[in-house]
């Protein structure tokens, strides 16, 4: 019973706001993630700086990091799907 009272560790979702990613719509992606009510209590959504040209001159932008995993060419639906999936997986270990 004590386990259920323990707070689940929050997921870190970082959106790159470097020039390449903002060129490909990272600001709008950030706003969409921040607007999603269902994930507010489970995630800390932050900005991150350019993780060293992972994006190949913006071809693979926007770049998002969910905990330790990078998601390239991030679309809002894909990121939200992944976040919800992880929330479910955390609930049913």
């Amino acid at each position: 019973m004590g386990e259920h009272q323990q707070k689940e560790a929050k997921m870190h979702v970082s959106v790159c706001m470097g020039t390449n990613c903002t060129f490909r719509g990272a600001s709008q992606l950030m706003e969409t993630l921040r607007a999603e009510e269902g994930i507010k209590d489970h995630c800390i959504i932050e900005e991150m700086s350019c993780p060293d040209e992972l994006c190949d001159h913006s071809r693979r932008s926007p770049v998002v990091k969910i905990d330790d995993d990078y998601v390239m060419q991030a679309k809002p639906e894909a990121i939200l799907d992944e976040v919800y999936k992880r929330i479910r997986d955390n609930r049913e270990p």
């Binding site: 706001m17 020039t19 390449n20 700086s49 001159h57 071809r59």
Partner: protein
Amino acid sequence: MRGIYTPVTDLRRRLLMETVQFIIEGKDPSEIESLPFNIIEMGKPAYRCCSYRELSIVKQRLRLAFGLPLIEERENMPVSRGIERAFTSEKIIDVPLVNVIRAACEKCPEDEVIVTDKCQSCMAHPCSIVCPRNAITFPEGKAHIDQDKCIKCMKCVQVCPYSAITRMVRPCAEACGVGAIDSDEEGFARIDQKVCVSCGLCTVSCPFGAISDKSEIVQVTFSLLEHDENPLGQKLYAIVAPSFTGQFGNKVTPEMIFEGIGKLGFDRVMEVAYGADCDTVLLAGTYSAGHGDFLGTSCCPSWVMAARASFPDLAENITDSYTPMVETAKKIKETDADAKIIFIGPCIAKKYEALTEEVSEYIDHVLTFEELAALFVAFGIDLMSITDGHPINDASALGRGYANAGGVGDAIIKTVENRFGISDIQFERADTLADCLEMLKRIKKGETSPNLVEGMACPGGCVGGPGTLASPGTASRQVTRFAEAGVLKDNV
């Protein structure tokens, strides 16, 4: 749709970036046929019904990105025909600047008043009663408008209790403030190039991205690469319009932007607000010396052209002094007659202005902020990682304020008051060409008699330009902020 990132925006940006990369990688013109496949994937259409259509459209977009005219489909020429001509640092761009890509045009329903599903077949049917032409009948219960009779007075639209009647417009034609867009024989949008004033607002209004402007991004890229190989040769100058300040987000300061432009390879980066300060003083002098009906501003080329076309007599009152862009370039040429000068701004109309005989000797190329962003991306410059910004102190608050609607008038009024002690200036201004022409109509009728008139083609002034990256509201606030940080010195 400035400030909203749509698939149209996405495609345009990917295309610009791939074009610049192509040149940076030193690829041969003959390899151009491979370039579309960096943007689309055959068999997996991302934007349209099929990848063959996407390919046709992308090829035409590439021609414009290279600064070349579209290929007329009837001419059955490969899209790469004549592409070598674009592989230069010399100026090749020419009119027409704004073009409809017919392959991309969806032939949206034209100006029509239509009854939507919201119609409830009500008992009152006030629509048919108010119609001055008896154009509305009820063949199957719902209201039906006979399009041959309809005169688009909009009375039915206003009276329907369900707002079930609406006017369909083509976004491009609706955005055009000079009525330059109609349809060709096949129903595709068509720009009458004799009427078009190159404001470019149609390019950001078409939800299919079917209208696009030509770019000099390729020729600027070659200029940067050549300069890099020969840094002691012809010097490169970037002159930046005052609307630049909030274009890259609120974490990127104006100083960081200037530093980033410097990193591209420019020898010097200067504010066009400097030229605006020059113009303010010139116009204040002209104003105080007395003038015709009124003094009209001239920094917006589209406003000037639209005014001259529709109200040639009134347009005589528009000053013929050089624009801030040219004043800034003139200053540079005083000390460096061989300078290569590239203007960076929110504007497509400036691309037109730079083609005119008087201006072409001062300005070599014109880029939009979006094209500048593509250069940053392709050249690997991350503005967020810049720690030491480039100090900017070329201009005063008044010059920097030109970027917001009303800013030019404000600068002139303040200067006339300070320098010549003249106050109580009747000032009228308008933004968007439709409103500008309405304003001139009122002046002509004598309904209003201003002393000073400011016209801007873009909504909110230059911050609403088609080449901008940020939403006009955000950009406008950043312009004011940067202006307030400038020293309000007795300019020039």
